[in-house]
Symmetry: D3
Subunit: 173 residues, 6 copies
């Protein structure tokens, strides 16, 4: 492994937040935008750890919110870089919530954020390669290519017919 590569686990970050009144809507549920704000901060710190650079959010993949998270719940966010591409990094982030007094745990879900490492003038700069070790890290590393193609197709920066990896989701040749 070359000196310019780092292990996936070196970028691991855990963040814990307590849901306060101003984070909630009129049903006392955590607002989706507030949760995305926390996800952005946790995954930015993870990308910073991998790159030792200032990072800027480049994109967020589809996020779906399954069950409502309530006022007073404790939210845990675990972020880790899945793969690096030149100056950009994909971060996988797992979120779950707990109502500690009742012991109820709100089902987790996963999202992907992409960051670009920049220098002091805001210009993109190369980051170390990422080396996955566990089976889960390897699977996330493989899938990162497919997700990247989907992002490029959706942003109209890649022709769908060139997105070889992506086509595999549709079981197409």
């Amino acid at each position: 492994m070359p000196s310019t590569s780092k292990f996936a686990r070196e970028s691991f970050v855990t963040m814990t937040e307590f849901v306060l009144p101003n984070d909630t809507n009129t049903l006392n549920n955590l607002m989706g935008g507030r949760l995305m704000h926390w996800m952005d901060i946790a995954s930015a710190i993870s990308a910073q750890k991998h790159s030792n650079r200032i990072v800027v959010t480049a994109s967020v993949d589809n996020v779906s919110f399954k069950k409502p998270i309530q006022l007073g719940n404790v939210v845990t966010l675990n972020a880790q870089v899945t793969r690096a591409f030149n100056s950009s990094m994909e971060v996988a982030i797992e979120v779950w919530a707990e109502d500690i007094p009742s012991g109820k745990r709100i089902e987790s879900h996963r999202a992907f954020f992409t960051f670009v490492a920049v220098d002091q003038l805001g210009r993109p700069i190369d980051v170390p390669e990422l080396v996955p070790e566990t089976d889960e890290e390897k699977e996330l590393f493989e899938g990162a290519l497919r997700r990247r193609q989907l992002r490029l197709v959706l942003a109209k920066r890649m022709a769908p017919e060139d997105a070889k990896e992506l086509k595999s989701i549709f079981n197409l040749p």
Copy 2:
């Protein structure tokens, strides 16, 4: 048009925000998570206007952040419902920023949020159908079906081969 339908334009919402120090990172750029927080609020108000109900965020489609927005910039967010499906609504949201003293305008981009209308107990409840009028509203109305299939496929709640509309992006039969 039946009494349980509303025009797209009735759900139009404009929100203006001033980028303050706490909204920015160490490069004085607006943080992606903060912008998503504003997008969530603006589009939730739009979905409220269409449904006259409390709404909860169900999902956010891929968002990509093109150019950095700076401290002191004025951010404008325009949200409008594109289509209703039973209890859920897709909202299109356009965002752009201006540095008013210099007259510089930061390129706009568009995102899609989905909301579910709920009653006081948080249970999903049907909303009026949406009637598009302009060409742009009609195009967004048509595309909503395709984006919905992509969301379902990505959330593993629809088999890719059943996503007829979605396949059209890949020019496949």
Copy 3:
């Protein structure tokens, strides 16, 4: 119209805010000071648009709060410059609130903020003249002189007997 003038409508700004728990008092009503904070931001952006300058708040005219605005209401603020005087601008701001689920609309009211355009060192700098077009804009333009005299009299910077326009409110010679 000389090149250094702009139309009133070019300074129009709409801002939408959602009333969150921390914006309210123990009766769940929006606090007056929080509303004034929003009014200041919306009208400052309007004055920035007219002048393309950094602006600082110079004064706020009498504001009266008619009906309470509740937690969960959506507040809309519409601001537009009414008239420019050398380096200062008067902005009229209309505010109303809606309880969207119940369809109840809280009666609007109007306030006037005055801003001074400044350069990077904070020194006052001239702004374009304002050209009113509609009847309402013309009426606001005319009234601006009277309101300015009231401000100067109240700040003890003009003798009441010199406030010719102002006397007209009291139907005096």
Copy 4:
């Protein structure tokens, strides 16, 4: 003095605030709206002390901002009720700022807020009479009538010709 009256000094409140980055504009000056938010809180506490009731902001008189207050300054707000009218109270509030390291003090100015005392259902409820003691308290007590007439005239709830006290500012019969 009847049991339902209180001295002006019993409602005295001092509040101290430190100007933080998010309170300032791009010139590092305290934003006018943020200062009004603090003025509203300090004067509401003063009106609460006089009435021992929940209070709601009814109006704010003309406020003019003389010199800019800077990031890092310490702002002091002194509020005291000047006079009570049935369920409403006028509060005078003095504000000044200091740059403590340099010993520079930013010139003080005074504003007037009016509050209404309400019961748990938000209905207006009578408050004790206010008894001024010092010369300054007596002058503020006298002036309160004139300022009240100006508020009513400006809100179009009193005909200018009936505002006897107010006319005295214009030296008119």
Copy 5:
């Protein structure tokens, strides 16, 4: 081990915070009060995990701030319950900061917070006993008694001569 006891490690909590402009003073250093706010939240979550109850802060032991933490630093807080006494729990909290781009790590320090578990009416309620496993957990468990005596002596709720454990710091009989 009886059913009403839990291991120390079951209460472990990690929290990560990014130092934003409003968290800092005029030297761009994290304010001590802001850090204590985070320490209180992290240790309260730890005490909640041990007790499965709502908890209220009872006391904070001496905290000393060694080196300044800067704007843009990432702060990590690790909290774990050290010992339970009837309805109260002592939590040890370790804090350190990193300037990730430069790789500089700001020396860690440790503080102790005490919480009381309460029922829905706010009355104290017993919590499980804590079972330490590692050497460090055992040392913290032992020291908790001494720290508790110091708290009681300082709060004048225990005579110094009765504080047997505490005297050991002074090497006295």
Copy 6:
């Protein structure tokens, strides 16, 4: 008294805060960390007044929270420097809360914060000596030495046997 000394009363600061929803936990009680944040700001302003310097928090002594403070209460914080030691100052801070509508006053308690005065580069710099005048100020001045020794012993920067003043709490030779 030499020119480089100041009276204790010159550093007196009063701060008033209104407990808002986001300051409270799920029992509607003010969170301990939020209160410590306010205590830090009030006592920092007091230390600034004594030293006419930027100050940084060096330590906080044991704080115990007696009775819960509720949503809607008014919190008053009175801070004053007790003694100066070269570049550091000890500040005593008294806190109490009132539920103004019911006239209930929540018992006061006292805490001690220590600050270091620094120059623009963050280096410690000497401050004026403090001169106590009243009996209470003199008692606080005397006790400051004992509290300082306790801080140094707890931070393991002084051997317990050298803490002569401190031993007096334990009535030891």
